[in-house]
Symmetry: C2
Subunit: 235 residues, 2 copies
């Protein structure tokens, strides 16, 4: 059995589809962490339901910690072009988010007897978040077996307990889009936007711009409805 | 500035007092994680207030993850004597608890600009939890600088960002009791019991038994009120 961290975005939905194709029985884990919009969680629920996997939603109030445009009343940066996506780590960075998210995945894995943990991070077409880098994942992998009862028990048998999988780590966004299409991911159900409006995704935050470029490079239509745009002209 | 993880128990209260004696401006962090009793959090609040430090309480629903007598309706084991405290990891173990707790400490440290993180874990008189061992703390220390923007920035300057302090790691419970007394910790404000009754601590869970032995060996009176015992005869 595998725990799959599922945010409701393109990457995590593709990651779930991959884990299933590899033959894992999956439990999807989402966090209700005080993100400013609930549409992401609705997407995660729809994706898990469509995949027929159990969906665990865990409440954690990261807004108490603060420090991110995704939980605080800080403005999400917008750009006209993907070339303007900042090389620096942006204000949408949630402090230690993936460490917290993976830790909770670890806890759930231990309780459910899972020995595999999937996270859809990506080190190429991403926003420069430190906790999406290979070195971070390796350090977490090392921590996992030391942190848990299951890890201690496995070590006593000379085994590794937990394997952290990040199968999208070195893919471009275009490759992720193509892979998702191949795996039957319902792209229309996924949400990438950091700052959605009632009538659709903003189209100008880092996540929207990277997504749009990914679909364009993959030669596929992005089924996302973007605010203020004709939904039949999004390609 | 330092973030101090504060559960409301003897160890974390002593840890906070130590951090303050070392000259750190401290922010105390407690988790409302679905523990079955709120008395622990009340204790943390009282300890932080008495120390005059800011107290951040973060909600996280670890009961959703399950798997522990501290969050689920699993019976807390009781013994007549401290010698019966199991060598195995007991059901009071909360899966990946310290990993989750430290991750959140890391997030708060980054937002507040703290570069020191204190945790009152102890590898001698403890309940055999895997995430109280030195190897675990070293692995977390290594992860911390890789996991955060502040860590990346510090590395670019050739510096270490975060120092994880576990100053009680190799102390006996008696030494922690004595140290606390020396530092002016109000032992009466601390709560150790895993299963408190309305009229006091149970006196027979692992935490109570280890605490009582610690006070006895330190030659100090444990001011805890134990259920069903005459509060004036607790020594």
């Amino acid at each position: 059995m595998a725990i799959v961290l599922l945010s409701g975005g393109l990457d995590s939905a593709t990651c779930l589809a991959l884990a299933r194709r590899e033959g894992f029985a999956c439990v999807a884990l989402s966090l209700r962490y005080g993100q400013r919009h609930a549409v992401e969680l609705d997407a995660a629920r729809a994706i898990a339901t469509a995949a027929g996997v159990e969906h665990v939603v865990l409440d954690i109030d990261l807004a108490t910690v603060g420090g991110s445009a995704l939980t605080d009343a800080i403005e999400v940066p917008k750009h006209e072009d993907v070339a303007d996506v900042a090389a620096d780590i942006p204000v949408t960075y949630v402090p230690a988010r993936n460490t917290v998210f993976l830790s909770l995945g670890l806890a759930l894995a231990e309780v459910r007897g899972a020995r595999d943990l999937f996270i859809g991070v990506n080190a190429l077409d991403y926003s420069g978040y430190p906790d999406c880098r290979p070195a971070f994942l390796e350090a977490f992998q090392r921590l996992a077996d030391l942190a848990t009862r299951a890890g201690v028990d496995a070590a006593a048998r000379g085994e590794r307990w937990m394997t952290v999988h990040a199968p999208l780590l070195t893919l471009t966004k275009a490759e992720i889009v193509r892979l998702g299409a191949e795996l039957g991911v319902d792209h229309a159900a996924t949400v990438s936007c950091y700052d959605p409006a009632p009538d659709g995704a903003c189209g100008r935050c880092d996540a929207c711009l990277l997504r749009r470029r990914g679909f364009a490079e993959a030669g596929l239509v992005d089924p996302t409805r973007y605010a203020g745009e004709d939904p039949w002209a999004t390609s």
